[in-house]
């Protein structure tokens, strides 16, 4: 493993007038290019830990090493210009346009005007906002989700290697939050920043984290590992409780449809006669088949009842296929689409919409059950 980008060595922070330290003798390494999630109950010291890294607060004792150098001395403002910082309330400057907001750090760094302008547009595009439309607007014209996008763009302004994010999506409605999380992961796929991400939401931690540090009071690390390891092997009771009862379901968000064996099913490709269909399904001894069009796009579920009702043509009998999965979707997506599907399973298609196979409850269970406690792994 490479040299950690950020190291917290024996860091303690006591607030004046408070008996117990908010962070006690914390040791933590952040590897370059990873998303390290700090997750834990409210008040356990997550924000304090994060703010120690960019010296928004000074440690009472201990060392903070950034790129091999101790940064607990020197100019904190210069340090902060090299570290992006995103907070839950976003904190856009209401009297500055979106462009001026994003230009904050470049301006502080004294970039030339033309470079700043290009950078602003580049960042707006990066967070999927049309520069021509939003550049000159003011923050009070943005929705919560848009404001947080601008917040992220602004944090990336000076092209920092490190991004500190304190519950960035915490104040956003669930649907928008989900979209922002996905967008952010896509973005991170391109940018490969080193990110320390704070949340109190274990689901968000599992989704976003390359590694997760589960913290208890005074920022004590209860467990630090990859999400799948934490979910399957919680270190102690505290972690187990924090994960909640749905830990096994949470592993669904970590696996993708491409990880499971798809059921090929019987397919009927148009044009097809009712008789052919009947034979095919009888031969395979199955009750359900998938009707495909000429280009292999799935159309309908054909079952025995559809075959027997001779009043309508095959293309209009059976039930239409409304939800489709792609190999990149998570198994959680798969589960919810199966529960919605009339056939109790979901078709999986490739990027062009061509049929790949079906995802069934059995194939899901086959992947999960070996890990489940108390179930013999056969």
């Amino acid at each position: 493993m490479t040299q950690p980008l950020i190291q917290l060595q024996d860091v303690t922070k006591s607030y004046p007038g408070v008996d117990v330290p908010a962070v006690k003798s914390l040791n933590l390494d952040v590897e370059p290019g990873e998303i390290l999630v700090l997750v834990g109950p409210s008040g356990c010291g997550k924000s304090t830990t994060l703010r120690l890294i960019n010296r928004m607060i000074e440690p009472t004792s201990g060392r903070i090493i950034y790129e091999g150098a101790d940064v607990t001395k020197g100019d904190p403002n210069a340090l902060r210009r090299r570290i992006g910082y995103v907070i839950q309330q976003v904190g856009l400057f209401p009297h500055r346009t979106i462009a001026e907001n994003i230009a904050t750090v470049p301006k502080l760094l004294g970039w030339p005007k033309a470079k700043i302008r290009d950078r602003v547009d580049e960042l707006l595009e990066l967070v999927s906002m049309d520069p021509a439309l939003y550049r000159d607007r003011y923050p009070n014209e943005l929705s919560g989700g848009q404001a947080q996008r601008v917040g992220v763009a602004r944090a990336l302004g000076g092209d920092p290697d490190v991004l500190l994010m304190d519950e960035p999506f915490g104040a956003i409605d669930p649907i928008t939050r989900d979209r922002l999380q996905n967008e952010f992961l896509r973005l991170q796929g391109e940018l490969k920043k080193t990110i320390v991400f704070v949340t109190h939401d274990i689901d968000e931690a599992v989704k976003m984290g390359d590694r997760i540090a589960i913290l208890r009071d005074q920022s004590e690390i209860a467990q630090l590992d990859r999400p799948e390891n934490i979910l399957t092997e919680p270190a102690d009771e505290f972690v187990e409780n924090f994960l909640g009862s749905g830990a096994i379901l949470k592993t669904l968000t970590l696996r993708r449809v491409r990880d499971i064996d798809l059921d090929p099913m019987v397919t009927l490709k148009q044009p097809v006669h009712r008789g052919e269909a009947l034979t095919a399904m009888n031969d395979a001894n199955t009750t359900t088949a998938v009707l495909l069009d000429e280009r292999d796009h799935p159309l309908r579920w054909i079952d025995e009842r559809a075959l027997n009702s001779t009043r309508s043509s095959l293309e209009t009998s059976g039930r239409p296929i409304t939800v489709q999965l792609q190999p990149e979707d998570t198994l959680q997506d798969a589960l919810s689409s199966m529960l919605q599907s009339s056939a109790g399973m979901s078709v999986v298609v490739d990027g062009r919409g061509r049929y790949l196979g079906c995802c069934t409850i059995e194939s899901l269970a086959g992947l999960l059950l070996p890990h489940a406690p108390g179930v013999p792994s056969s």
Partner: protein
């Protein structure tokens, strides 16, 4: 747990009076009021017959001088207020001394509880006669609204906005000048506006220590029992106050940062 921010399109064109904002409204009400006073003044002036004493009191050149003095007194005492109260307000909000801040506000509150003529007499005892003494006395009297509004204006700035600014590496001074002060401007100006109007009114007491102003006319009217003179003197003070208030309203409207 989660909050969904509902966004409504900003409405630019307002049609019914009911939906006018208060500062749009007072940019209209003040001139209308001033106009009414002016008409009243002209009517009284034109249709009343002045006896020689009244005529001497209401000698136009003398009234003009008094108005000018009143304006100058109000203007410079307000400038002095701003020069003192805004920096002090900034200093006490720079953290570190919350107790200094609270005790200062209450001490100045006491200052305002002293009757204005008492303050003027106090300053007279200390500094002697003249306009400058009046300006110091008025400034002391009107310090509180500006100081209070500076403190409130700076403290109502959303903490997360400051946090974000500092988190991006703005220095404390940059945060003050580029974020906190601009965002406090509307409230500070409101305080200055109040102070101006107080000062215009209180400048009527300047005559007590030889500072001039329209107080001379009102005082002469009182002493010599000439109600017309009292009335005209008072209306002129009110007119000046309305003009200052209107200018303050304009400043409040046009110095407000965009986006707020």
């Amino acid at each position: 747990m989660t909050t969904v921010r509902v966004q409504t399109a900003p409405q630019r064109k307002r049609r019914s009076i009911a939906s006018w904002t208060s500062d749009q409204l007072d940019l209209i009400v003040t001139p209308v009021l001033a106009l009414v006073l002016l008409i009243l003044l002209v009517t009284v002036w034109t249709y009343s017959t002045f006896d020689p004493t009244t005529e001497r009191i209401l000698e136009p050149a003398q009234l003009a001088r008094q108005m000018w003095e009143q304006t100058i007194l109000a203007f410079f005492s307000t400038v002095l207020v701003v020069l003192i109260a805004v920096p002090v307000g900034i200093l006490v909000t720079r953290g570190g001394a919350p107790r200094v801040k609270n005790s200062m506000v209450s001490v100045l509150g006491l200052g305002q509880a002293i009757p204005a003529y008492g303050l003027i007499v106090l300053f007279f005892v200390w500094l002697g006669q003249g306009g400058l003494t009046v300006i110091f006395a008025l400034a002391t009297f009107a310090l509180l609204p500006v100081l209070r509004n500076t403190i409130v204006g700076l403290e109502q700035v959303d903490k997360s906005v400051i946090e974000a600014g500092r988190g991006m590496g703005m220095t404390g001074f940059q945060s003050l000048t580029k974020i906190e002060l601009p965002l406090a401007v509307p409230i500070i100006i409101a305080g200055i506006r109040t102070a101006t109007v107080i000062n215009v009114g209180m400048a009527s007491l300047a005559f007590l220590i030889g500072g001039g102003g329209l107080g001379e006319t009102i005082n002469a009217g009182l002493k010599l029992n000439r109600p017309t003179a009292i009335f005209i003197g008072a209306v002129l003070v009110a007119l000046l106050a309305l003009i200052f208030d209107f200018l303050g309203g304009l400043a409040q409207r046009y110095l407000r940062p965009k986006g707020l």
